[in-house]
Symmetry: C2
Subunit: 376 residues, 2 copies
């Protein structure tokens, strides 16, 4: 528990980075994908199963955890690591994003945001100080500053004033964050789809100083091209000696694009949520297991995958589980998708280290195009 | 796959029996509890997890499997063992019970029963011959004869004519069952709560001859006292050299009672269904994890249990999962309940072998009474 929070840059390939984050709860090889453990559980998976996929860090949602079971309760029970039996690193978001997307009757002011719980209608208040306090109670390895995720579309003035508010909040978060060895606080760059606002935001955050930097306000409807462009522009301005986290991204192809421009950390609900709705990622295509064409197919999901779903079961069986709404279907497809994502990240890491990222990405794209032409 | 289907009586303690069933798919130590794998999956559990609880045989429901994914499809895919990745013994029921309890517009005649699927309204026909054929397609280790589960309450005349129909069907099942080494066909005694009808049914079945004998038509509302009395009466008349299976029973205390009178095999949805609704069996009480009193409780469910739910998590966490309707809550509580049931069966087996069943049962009952007095 005495390790410094540190980022080591091990190799680069173009603008892509191979690195390692050291924390109080263990090291994280980057680029890394963090499965989303919304309410203290990566849905449908035991922590042992999550670990077996290769995941080294999981994400928890402050909004969900503060409402249920409550941050003070988690603290009394020994913190989120012990509560959910995940001794490795945990990153928590600030709650701001879900307040805007899930809660009711929210009211934003300079000091913070008031909202009603989507669970029981109870009233809650989130300020920069309280967001940091909650994440401290949860014992998060990586705390995120409270920000306003600028909606898309927004006018330039709206994006600017929203970003300025987030920067004032970032400063307040930094002021109250309790420094502990191996724990880190990440700032979040905003600015919508405006390069100059993104620049201003990065400069403000670097001026404050954080253990890592996130790019927020993307994956909110701007589309893959703008997303790619803004991630590339913002990443290029971030300090090289700190981890860079692109929040909420994304599809495998989005992650590959973002790794190419120098992003180190990712989270997304896609592999877990897709797994619960019958979708499976493979090296060649995204399969919808509800589809009747899988009903008699004795093949595994993906012959090149070593996960339990591919090792032990046929597509026909997985199709049956999905159709019958069996819990095991959610578990197996989630498991497979997380292994797919972790295998992808390992492939990216190895390719960067070997200076072979360009052919790796070519192969990745070619396989997907082949899959589009010949649906599996 | 060449082992004979055989029952070996290893020890007795009073009327209780410690035995071993040898099958084409492995041996089963008795008394045994068979987790219910309704639609080709023990709900919320991987087969590896089921095996880790100590289960040696699982039950599949012919009614569910014939409707979805279909018996012919399972056969094309290599049988139920391969389909669900359970290489061990599988017992399938005949489908009769669920036809009566789940299907729509059912019509019973001498030859069989016609019904509409509760899933899609399609019409189906089940006869003794088709029930055996379906179970053969599934590659069931133990096939059950088609019978009519006599409803409770029923008049003596109704119980008699229902039982007589089941005996005629049992004979037809025996006639078409394809003898294969290590596979068995079980007859089912009916007769409601009438001792003389039970006697007549047992005699008819023994006259036909089966690899094992089940007691059906109990656990349908007659209450624990009548259930116990009828199980005891019927078991006493069954051949000593064949396994005895009390269908659909039951609660831990019902199983203990039935083992005392010489029953060898059990199945019940209680541990799995209870797990999915937040109930956990412990040595002292049945806990409802939804209850708010668990919200801050750092203790494991059961300090004497080695299952993952007890080893890795607090009651507070399990309470949280149940309240948040997280899939992991269903998985962990099902896992725990199955381990509880398997531990109970192991305890019963060891006690019979050691000639110490009476003190074992006394301790079991005393712990439960203590739990009733001091809720955990």
């Amino acid at each position: 528990m005495t390790a410094d929070f540190a980022f080591e840059l091990l190799a680069t390939d173009g603008t892509a980075r191979r690195g390692r984050v050291s924390t109080a709860h263990g090291t994280i090889e980057t680029p890394t994908f963090m499965p989303v453990g919304t309410a203290g559980t990566v849905k449908a998976m035991t922590p042992d199963a999550v670990r077996s996929t290769g995941a080294e860090i999981v994400l928890g949602n402050t909004y969900h955890l503060m409402l249920r079971p409550g941050a003070e309760r988690v603290a009394r029970l020994g913190g989120l690591h012990r509560f959910m039996n995940w001794p490795g690193p945990i990153l928590t978001d600030s709650g701001g994003f879900q307040v805007m997307s899930l809660s009711e009757l929210r009211k934003l002011d300079e000091d913070g945001v008031t909202f009603r719980s989507h669970i029981d209608g109870s009233h809650h208040r989130l300020t920069p100080e309280r967001a940091v306090e909650i994440q401290n109670l949860l014992d998060s390895t990586i705390t995120m500053v409270l920000d306003e995720c600028t909606p898309f579309p927004a006018t330039r003035d709206e994006a600017a004033s929203s970003m300025h508010l987030s920067m004032r909040w970032a400063e307040r978060c930094r002021a109250v964050f309790e420094a502990r060895s191996g724990y880190g606080l990440f700032g979040i760059a905003q600015g919508g789809v405006h390069e100059d606002l993104r620049d201003e935001s990065v400069d403000a955050l670097v001026g404050i100083g954080f253990e890592g930097y996130a790019i927020g306000g993307l994956a909110v409807g701007e589309g893959p091209e703008l997303q790619r462009a803004m991630a590339a522009h913002t990443a290029a301005r971030l300090p090289v000696d700190r981890p860079r986290y692109l929040m909420g991204v994304g599809r495998p192809e989005d992650i590959v694009d973002a790794v190419l421009v120098g992003i180190d950390m990712f989270d997304c609900v896609i592999p877990t949520r897709s797994g619960r709705t019958g979708q499976a990622f493979t090296r060649r295509a995204v399969l919808n297991l509800r589809n009747a064409r899988h009903a008699d197919d004795p093949r595994p999901l993906d012959e090149d995958c070593a996960c339990p779903a591919c090792r032990d079961f046929s597509r026909a069986y997985l199709h049956h589980l999905v159709r019958a709404k069996e819990i095991l279907g959610s578990t197996l497809l989630t498991w497979h998708n997380l292994v797919y994502y972790q295998d992808l990240m390992r492939g990216l890491r190895d390719a960067i280290a070997a200076g072979r990222l360009a052919p790796f990405v070519s192969d990745f794209r070619a396989a997907r195009e082949a899959g589009d032409l010949v649906p599996l």
